[in-house]
């Protein structure tokens, strides 16, 4: 009758063996020759970051381990000892704050991408190329990211203010720019302000209709990269940052719908 209990306790050596086997398999899978740099990447930059990483890895022989998340979440994690060497943030405030607090190497902040805002609808022909659709009664709900949390949301609010629009009751706020896109792509909002990089492919809109908002209507959406304290002793980390400034990297970033 004691068999049941021995099943609970007695299987821990087996578990340990399974754990050891899995850890060994994982260790073998890691390359030993080149340096590995841990990079925290703002989730909205995931697609271009993967393309940049592939190009950099091929050219340098180093390996990049990309982690995707929200910039604010990375800030909390870096304050609490996260091992990231480089941060590609979605804003410029976070890298500045990290430098001021000594969590990033002072003077290493650099703009790696400037975001473009687009008024976008999944429906073809709904948004005209001049944004006149905003002047007429809206065809449905308009989605934008929370202006207090998201740089794209703040830029959206600036555009709305610059155009002198009042959207009482018609605007829906999403937590971040990824959710804003989902609101519109799922048809729950007729149109909304998203990042051009979300709807842009090979030099044009992937689907639907859009108005690429002139940069004069809002403050620039600068995304900054910074060398973190954990990466200060890693030459490969500094090398990746200088690669981001290269013409080759900038052209690649622009092809994803960012300003050069």
């Amino acid at each position: 009758m004691a068999a049941q209990f021995s099943l609970c306790v007695g299987s821990s050596p087996i578990a340990r063996r399974i754990g050891l086997m899995l850890s060994a398999a994982l260790l073998l899978a890691l390359p030993s020759r080149a340096q590995q740099v841990q990079v925290a990447v703002a989730a909205n930059f995931a697609a271009p970051a993967k393309a940049l990483a592939a190009q950099f890895e091929q050219a340098s022989g180093h390996k990049l381990a990309l982690s995707f998340g929200a910039t604010g979440q990375f800030y909390a994690q870096i304050r609490n000892g996260a091992p990231f060497a480089v941060l590609l943030a979605a804003d410029e405030e976070t890298p500045e704050k990290l430098q001021a607090q000594g969590l990033a190497v002072a003077g290493t902040g650099q703009t790696y991408a400037t975001g473009r805002l687009v008024l976008w609808s999944k429906q073809a022909g709904l948004v005209d190329g001049q944004g006149h659709v905003l002047r007429a009664p809206l065809p449905g709900r308009l989605a934008l990211a929370d202006p207090r949390l998201s740089p794209y949301g703040r830029a959206s609010a600036e555009v709305i203010a610059a155009l002198g629009l009042t959207l009482r009751g018609q605007a829906v706020e999403a937590a971040h720019i990824g959710q804003t896109y989902q609101f519109i792509a799922s048809g729950n909002a007729a149109l909304g302000f998203v990042a051009l990089s979300q709807v842009y492919e090979n030099g044009r809109l992937r689907e639907g209709s859009g108005w690429i908002v002139p940069e004069s209507l809002h403050k620039p959406i600068r995304q900054q990269a910074v060398l973190l304290r954990a990466g200060s002793g890693q030459p490969a980390a500094a090398q990746f940052l200088s690669y981001l400034r290269s013409a080759q990297a900038q052209a690649l970033v622009a092809s994803y719908g960012y300003s050069p």
Partner: protein, 230 residues
Amino acid sequence: MRPAAFSSEAVSAIALTLQLATLSTLILLVLATPLAWWLSQTRSRWRTPLGALVLLPLVLPPTVLGFYLLVLLGPQGWVGQLTQALGLGPLSFSFSGLLLGALVFSLPFAVQPIQSSFEAMGARPLEVAATLRARPLDAFFTVALPLARPGLLTAAVLSFAHTVGEFGVVLMVGGNIPGQTRVVSTQIYGHVEAMEYTQAHVLAAGMVLFSFIALWVLMRLQSKQRRKQA
């Protein structure tokens, strides 16, 4: 160029997820059984506050849980300072930190079913065991534990499945580092953000299928058990 359905990244995330879920389930069964026993038997005034504390991870948003774990495990947190003093370094952003997180957020899923089993059993079987001169510890192993078998099974399946499915805490405490703390759920998040919907679909559909099968097997075992007892 069509991307392979299961990249090496995906395989590593799946292996890590299974390792995490297996280890946390085994540890949880060992920890939750005595805790559930105590909660089911005690008349202490600590019973209700402790019971509430055990249930807390069930209702707290994962971001709250993840944030507090991050602060606690970090270099300034008291758990982090303890592990550093022991020479282990801070546990955040490591597999051990993830494991600790899994033990916390899956605790109610392990304790609850076992506790219910112990409570459903009532005092009678142990009283009978006592009249047959079984010592309390003996009676626990030979009478109470076998009777609580359905509860132990439910606890194992639920905590395993819940650990596999957890996202918010894992992202916050683990940092989504490939090969170290990137599990299936955070891998899917990366794919969705990169608009790699094919890879996201493969993993997400696998997750749905896995969770369904796990729950189905559990229901079947439970109904079999019920028939046996009837």
